[in-house]
């Protein structure tokens, strides 16, 4: 039966008018909300895997309603964790933490959440509309871009470091190069060389981006609470702003929403870029194009929330374009969606477009309805949940540490995950203190692998001929123009700044030993080790880590070291604006004692998981932390412990049957 597109669209809607379908959609929305607030490790892929055996016995549309409802709502509602806890949300919602958390700390959690859900809902609708009209357009859109074009695109993304680097470009570049270096750890696909593996099986796959992003931002956020003893010594900022304000912000920034949504759709459509990049690319795009961004981004600018959230939710529509119209899965969840569709007798791809266009349109309608439903649910839950920002540190810190450690450990379920988490948590702390922008590191880490793959593939398939492809030239011009504009804008802003106060009288450069000189020294050592380790490798394996990263990194760190040793006090004190330093007013000794105590708790939690297993260690951590550190009442302490036990055992082990490995003491 061949349907016209309009008929198919109508039929697709009529398919939904069935109580079981609508009920499944509601259940899906509920599951999605739940996934959004659960710790990392419970993501859409796991939910799909658990639901699949159940839904393949159902009617196809009912099953689709459940699966698509769950996945799109989990994306829309993903801003809770970044805004309230200061830890990056699940895949595609990580960059939201950059501006969402400062807003939450300022008491504007409701406004941030309102903006994020509105942006998410709008993004989801734009993505869905794209899917609806993409049926005739999907193919040419994808085929426009080969490896060479993708390489330029990634390079463009990387140039956003220029914005993220803030006022101290040297530190930004060093952080980005450090991120690129971490991205090269593991066995290289192109040459098979084990880079920086040092015979450790754990390092064969490289570091999990999810762990590094989680702790790089999450640990300093939790430390922030522990340092200020939020809710005890320092009152949390009173709740200001409303959901409506966030909605208004989003509507005012509609053009940003549209731009970022199309960026998201595009990342979704092109296979291989992956969901982990979408939020960072759109955040970078916003930082590059929004007026005054270099002054306000990273300090709680609502546009820094709107951009990643709209892109992340629009991406789902893009994913489905490729999955349903071409039959190419885009990641684990869409691969499982294809499995489900095959089981129901549909073959996603051209055959499905020909034979069952109404089912594709049903998917469109489901996505649209789920988008609206998810936004509403987000609004309903936002008001009560926003109060979490007011809960005192003694309860919040163990809760946040549970989310962080569970999230890190679920990457590989290997005790080394915990070592990596603690190590990068410490690195994140020092980077924040010393004004090395962490977003630049993440951008390097996320894009490093893609950069290398696309360049290699371009060279292998076309030689240098790829540089002459028209799409490459156009993209290259666009990328250079936007970089030039950014640099010019920054240069102008810095002139304005310099002109306003009279330039501080410059003391003649005097050589002085400062503790801050240790940071560039650390990076010099890291880059030197990389050069020494990588020197023996063949050219393909060496190009990126040694020539592109480590050697320039060593030079830049040396320059930074020189600046630290001879520079002007006032200039050095100027914190990087994209990643604010700690603004505590504690005396040094108290600060040091609290920082050490905090990292002691983090390390104890990690060691506890290794020795006792998640199920015992994390409730125990909560019990001890609330009693000893927080001096809470027994009842409060036990309630927190029980809540965390319910989370790690009840949710993972009992409900989802995802068992945690036992601690080493129980082997």
């Amino acid at each position: 039966m061949e349907l016209s597109l309009l008929q198919a669209a109508v039929q697709g809607f009529l398919n939904l008018l069935d109580t079981s379908v609508l009920f499944a959609l509601l259940v899906g929305i509920g599951i999605g909300t739940f996934v959004a607030v659960a710790p990392q490790g419970i993501g859409t892929p796991l939910v799909y895997a658990l639901l699949l055996p159940i839904v393949i016995r159902w009617k196809p549309i009912t099953a689709l309603a459940l699966l698509l409802g769950a996945s799109s709502v989990s994306a829309i509602c993903a801003a809770y964790l970044p805004v309230l806890f200061g830890i990056p949300g699940g895949g595609g919602s990580q960059a939201t933490v950059l501006d969402g958390y400062p807003m939450g700390k300022r008491g504007e959690a409701r406004r941030a959440l309102g903006a994020s859900f509105m942006a998410g809902g709008m993004g989801c609708l734009i993505g869905t509309l794209t899917l609806a009209i993409a049926i005739p357009l999907a193919k040419p859109l994808i085929y426009l871009l080969g490896s060479p074009e993708l390489f330029i695109f990634v390079l463009w993304g990387l140039s956003m470091v220029a914005v993220l680097a803030g006022r101290q470009p040297l530190k930004g570049l060093i952080a980005a190069l450090f991120g690129l270096l971490i991205a090269t750890v593991g066995q290289q696909a192109q040459s098979g060389v084990m880079r920086f593996v040092y015979d450790q099986p754990y390092l064969l796959d490289g570091f999990a981006i999810s762990i590094i992003a989680l702790v790089l931002f999450g640990i300093p956020s939790a430390l922030d609470m522990a340092l200020t003893k939020l809710g005890v010594e320092q009152q949390p900022a009173p709740l200001r702003g409303s959901l409506l304000e966030g909605v208004k912000d989003t509507l005012r920034e509609w053009w940003l929403v549209v731009r970022c949504s199309f960026l998201g759709v595009w990342v979704g459509i092109v296979p291989g870029i992956g969901s982990q990049t979408v939020d960072w690319l759109s955040y970078g795009h916003a930082a590059q194009t929004c007026k005054g961004a270099s002054e306000t981004f990273g300090k709680g600018d609502v546009r820094g929330v709107i951009a990643p959230e709209s892109a992340n939710d629009a991406k789902d529509g893009g994913d489905l374009v490729t999955t349903l119209l071409l039959g190419f899965p885009q990641g684990t969840s869409t691969a499982l969606l294809i499995v489900a569709l095959l089981a129901m007798g549909f073959v996603p791809g051209p055959e499905m477009v020909r034979k069952n266009p109404d089912v594709i349109y049903s998917a469109v309608w489901i996505m649209g309805l789920a988008g609206i439903g998810g936004t509403l649910i987000g609004f309903i839950l936002a008001n009560p949940l926003a109060r979490l920002a007011q809960v005192r540190y003694s309860i919040m810190v163990p809760l946040i540490l549970t989310f962080i450690l569970v999230g890190a450990f679920s990457a590989n379920r290997d005790p080394i995950d915990l070592v990596v988490a603690v190590a990068f948590g410490i690195i994140g702390y020092f980077m924040k203190r010393a004004g090395y922008p962490r977003p630049a590191l993440i951008l390097g880490l996320v894009l490093g692998d893609l950069l290398e793959r696309y360049l290699y593939r371009s060279m292998a398939s076309y030689g240098f001929g790829w540089l002459a492809r028209p799409a490459v030239i156009v993209l290259l011009i666009l990328a250079s123009a936007s970089l030039a504009y950014t640099l010019w804008d920054k240069w102008r802003a810095s002139k304005v700044r310099a002109a306003a106060p009279p330039p501080a009288e410059r003391k003649p450069a005097a050589f002085r030993l400062r503790a801050s000189a240790l940071y560039p020294l650390f990076f010099m050592i890291v880059f030197s080790i990389a050069i020494v380790t990588g020197w023996e490798w063949p050219f393909i394996a060496k190009l990126m880590p040694v020539y592109v990263v480590a050697i320039p990194g060593l030079v830049l760190s040396a320059a930074q070291l020189f600046q630290e040793l001879t520079g002007d006090e006032a200039e050095l004190a100027q914190a990087s604006d994209m990643d604010e330093a700690y603004g505590t007013s504690l005396d040094r000794r108290t600060e040091l004692a609290r920082t050490l105590a905090f990292f002691g708790w983090v390390a104890a939690g990690a060691a506890g998981i290794w020795l006792l297993g998640v199920v015992i260690a994390l409730p125990l951590l909560a019990l001890l932390y609330t009693l000893l550190e927080g001096r809470e009442k027994w009842t409060t302490s036990l309630a927190t412990t029980a809540g965390i036990f319910a989370l790690v055992w009840g949710l993972f082990d009992y409900m989802l049957e995802v068992r945690w490995p036992a601690g080493i003491l129980f082997y």
Partner: protein, 363 residues
């Protein structure tokens, strides 16, 4: 979850709900945990087995492993419980190391490991902390069959065309040492056909696009995907691609016109040493899709129980129904055959091992 715990935190903070209740629940659970008195007569009764999967939860092969483990315990006397534990690190290598050397040899730990891991042992990699031959082989399913597909507009209508070409065709692959890469190296080594292998693609989708766009002309793909999935169905219908060879011993009934690599090796008279290398490389296909293994040194009676349970699980109507819905190929491979194969692929003269290692580490 956050909502629930936050509500609780707030109410308790005001002292309305007693914490004692929670303490009691915790105590009750702690007491329930270690009760385990029933294991006297039958070893597996009341026990909990662990099934280690070298993949992330939710991966499509993880679903297969979970289905197998669910159906296996039904056929183990005493009906033990079984929990699936995912250890996806290092492409499943960590799971293999765990089952081999960390788990106790008591027959309570099983694992689902990637067949390609024996190359790590052959290559003498320190990361492989096992002797492939000494695993307790429980069973496997669905031999992998690979095809070499080529764009129809490329000037290579058969393997002979590639053998005589001056400029080799460009074939895509994911990473060095991946199954698709091994298949391409196999074609080069066994048939003397030169290919330009472009690695660095992230998965099947990216490679299919690269073929459609003409970035590359050929790639290796599993027969199972080829007959069931897009874009292959459309490609076949439009005559966009040709299938140049298949890797199983006998021609797949669905591809009766495609020569097998064994036929081609006979035709081009592959020398004996290259043929041996080819057999080692083809071993991965014959180990099937994520074979099930156990720790070495398990008491023989328990090995028999596990092997029987695996064989029965693969005939279980529940599993077969699920497999049909999800288009899994169920094709039981006996443990004795796996054991023999494991010895065959590892016990090779040094020059063969050296050559295999070279092939896996070169482009």
């Amino acid at each position: 979850m956050t909502k629930r715990s936050s509500d609780r935190v707030r109410t308790v903070g005001k002292g309305r709900l007693g914490g004692e209740l929670w303490l009691l629940c915790l105590l009750a659970l702690a007491l329930l945990g270690p009760v385990d008195l029933s294991a006297q007569s039958n070893f597996y009764q009341g026990k909990t087995m662990t099934y280690v999967v070298g993949l992330l939860a939710g991966d499509s092969t993880d679903l297969w492993a979970r289905a197998v483990s669910r159906n296996m315990v039904k056929h183990i006397p005493g009906n033990p419980a079984i929990i699936v534990q995912n250890m996806p690190g290092a492409g499943g290598l960590i799971a293999a190391n765990y089952v081999y050397g960390v788990a106790k040899p008591d027959g309570l730990t099983l694992g689902s490991i990637s067949a390609g891991h024996y190359f790590h042992q052959l290559a003498g990699r320190p990361e492989a902390q096992f002797d492939w031959r000494k695993f307790t082989w429980i069973g496997s399913s669905a031999r992998h069959e690979y095809l070499l597909i080529m764009r129809a507009d490329a000037p290579f209508k058969s393997i002979d065309d590639i053998r005589s070409a001056t400029e080799p065709p460009k074939c895509s692959a994911t990473a060095l040492g991946s199954a698709s890469h091994i298949t391409l190296k196999l074609v080069e080594e066994a048939l003397g056909a030169r290919l330009q292998i472009v690695t660095g693609y992230k998965g099947g989708s990216e490679q299919d696009l690269a073929i459609e766009k003409g970035e590359v002309q050929c790639r290796a793909v599993t027969t199972a995907a080829f007959v069931a999935r897009e874009p292959f169905q459309t490609w076949q219908k439009n005559g966009f691609i040709r299938v140049l060879l298949q890797t199983p011993r006998k021609r797949n009934p669905r591809l009766p016109d495609v020569p097998t690599i064994y036929e081609l090796m006979d035709r081009v008279r592959t020398p004996e040493n290259k043929r041996r290398v080819a057999l080692v490389l083809l071993g991965t296909d014959n180990f099937g899709n994520f074979p099930t293994v156990a720790t070495p040194g398990i008491p023989a009676d328990r090995v028999k129980i596990l092997r029987d349970a695996y064989a029965k699980a693969l005939k279980d109507p529940d599993l077969l129904e699920e497999a049909k819905k999800r288009r899994w190929e169920v094709d039981y491979i006996e443990p004795q055959e796996l054991e023999k194969l494991a010895k065959e692929v590892i016990d090779q003269p040094p020059d063969i091992v050296k050559r295999v290692k070279e092939l896996l580490e070169s482009k």
